[in-house]
């Protein structure tokens, strides 16, 4: 069987250092000290080159033929990748993935990329963040070691050692890379077998998560906007993180993407050296305006502290209340109604209470919820038109009853849709009238 890897024929040491005929050009360059023209005494070639000996660049040791393994799947390379990933990404989400196929991974990555692109305008810093956000499956064992190295090994504390250069002088050299013996020693000293880790240790906290097939989503900055977008795709939980609607992202709802997403389980995350569970990650993803938003809130609180002690105390608590309240209203405003009824019930009322009168009443009373107002508009427009039709055909009893039955079916159908789509706020539009209602609402 021929060898799997075609490489240069391994040359033995003998052939590399065999300058028997010094007349050739290359040999003369290789061994400049050897007098090529007039050898005074006859001597062995190897003896002449003993102190100036160099291997050719393409020399392959016979005991170490080049490997067939791809470079980036080698353990050493994986370890370098993981340590640099852990040092450079302050926001890491950990997922368990259960037997995703390659096409499912591709669909998941496509949807994630689309969601991230949506929150990051072209040419800004946030587009940079979106471009460098990636989800990848990891080798658990190597990730485990990388975590230990990142936490317990400080490269700046490694003492230099003496090493001699080619010319024979001694210099100080520091071997402090992640694959060095020093890194290994530090890691083993910190984590002993059967030993207890301190409760504050990030590695100790994350260790129980490292079970089974894992994938990590790495975001190169703590950006709640990007985190929120990723959560909406990978672990949706309405109302804070609703999945993209069918109308907006049809690709998200195709069977391949859905079956891939069902197999991903968000189990935790590391955000700026703190370990969070699913709820904690969602809390961070819900911070509006990111770090700047939090800073602005703090500045606002401090500013209001300038007006005397009494007003300080009052102002601080008030601003906290205001922040919380505005956050709450900002977060759920789409699902809130001004009547206080549940959104889906109210949308159904638009069709159920003697249309079109009830719908017009609802239009006057309900000012907050776009969803309810859309259905109220649709109902009032549609049933006013039908009322006119009823008037036109009122000469025939049979046709009137037929139209009445048709009205009932239509009401039932619309109520069903208004109730069902309230979760996603998808507008169910009937032909012509629905489009008009939608346009009126968008112009408001």
């Amino acid at each position: 069987m021929p060898p799997r890897v075609r490489c240069a024929v391994p040359r033995g040491l003998g052939s590399a250092v065999k300058p028997t005929r010094l007349s050739t050009q290359s040999a003369a360059q290789l061994l400049p000290s050897a007098p090529a023209t007039t050898p005074a005494t006859r001597q062995y070639a190897t003896a002449a080159v003993s102190n100036r000996f160099q291997l050719p660049a393409d020399y392959v040791p016979p005991t170490q033929p080049p490997t067939a393994k791809l470079g980036d799947t080698r353990k050493s390379q994986l370890l370098r990748t993981y340590t640099s990933l852990l040092r450079s990404s302050p926001l890491i989400l950990i997922f368990q993935y259960n037997n995703l196929t390659a096409v499912e991974w591709a669909a998941v990555r496509r949807e994630l990329g689309a969601a991230l692109a949506e929150v990051s305008p072209e040419g800004t810093e946030s587009a940079e963040i979106a471009a460098n956000t990636q989800i990848q499956s990891i080798r658990g064992r190597m990730f485990d070691i990388a975590l230990k190295i990142v936490e317990f090994y400080d490269p700046s504390k490694v003492a230099p050692v003496k090493a001699s250069t080619l010319s024979g002088e001694k210099v100080d050299v520091v071997y402090n890379h992640d694959l060095s013996a020093a890194a290994d020693k530090a890691m083993r000293a910190a984590v002993k077998k059967g030993g207890e880790l301190p409760a504050s240790s990030v590695y100790g906290q994350i260790l129980p998560l490292l079970v089974g097939p894992l994938a990590v989503l790495t975001i190169p900055a703590v950006s709640p906007a990007h985190l929120g977008a990723a959560l909406r795709v990978l672990a949706p939980s309405p109302p804070a993180f609703p999945a993209p609607t069918r109308k907006k992202r049809p690709g998200y709802h195709d069977p391949i993407a859905q079956s891939g997403l069902q197999k991903l389980i968000l189990i935790g995350g590391r955000i700026e050296d703190k370990i969070f569970d699913q709820d904690g990650v969602k809390w961070v993803g819900g911070i509006e305006g990111g770090l700047d938003g939090l800073r602005a809130q703090l500045v606002h609180m401090l500013q209001s502290a300038g007006m005397g002690l009494a007003s300080t105390l009052e102002g601080a608590s008030k601003s906290v209340w205001l922040t919380l309240e505005s956050r709450r209203s900002g977060m759920v405003s789409e699902f809130e109604t001004s009547l206080g009824l549940r959104l889906d019930y109210e949308a159904c009322l638009a069709y159920l209470v003697s249309p079109p009168l009830g719908a017009i009443l609802l239009l006057i009373l309900e000012r907050k919820s776009d969803y309810v107002r859309f259905h109220a508009w649709q109902s009032s427009l549609l049933f006013t038109a039908l009322f006119v039709v009823h008037l036109l055909f009122s000469w025939s009893t049979f046709l009137s009853w037929l139209f009445f039955l048709g009205d009932l079916v239509l009401i039932a159908w619309l109520v069903f849709h208004a109730y069902r789509d309230a979760d996603t706020l998808d507008r169910y539009e009937v032909p012509i009238v629905g489009a008009i209602a939608s346009r009126i609402l968008d112009d408001e």
Partner: protein
């Protein structure tokens, strides 16, 4: 693991507990086509502070419900336990075919 005869898998675990290991590994043992071939898989994650024991409930086509104790059982014994019943169903199905 024989998964042909499983209709429902329900798990509840706290991923930060070391005892969730066997429940999580069981999920990773299900084949990629499990959902599309009609198996219902429900996973509920408990918060980090929860001390509730992790649970794994497997339902079979013949109606048998297996409530497996993930706290003490390792994944090997869970698979063994599930396969024991699956093999019986397999035998019955083979006889019915023949």
């Amino acid at each position: 693991m024989i998964t042909r005869f499983i209709t429902d898998v329900t798990t509840r675990f706290n991923p930060f507990s070391t005892r969730a290991k066997s429940a999580r590994l069981f999920l990773s043992f299900l084949p990629p086509t499990a959902r599309s071939s009609g198996m219902n898989i429900t996973t509920q994650l408990l918060p980090r502070t929860s001390t509730e024991p992790s649970s794994l409930v497997v339902k079979f086509k013949d109606g048998k419900v297996m409530n497996l104790d993930c706290e003490t059982m390792k994944i090997k014994s869970i698979v063994e336990e599930v396969d024991r019943h699956s093999r019986m169903l397999q035998k019955e199905a083979d006889l019915a075919d023949a």
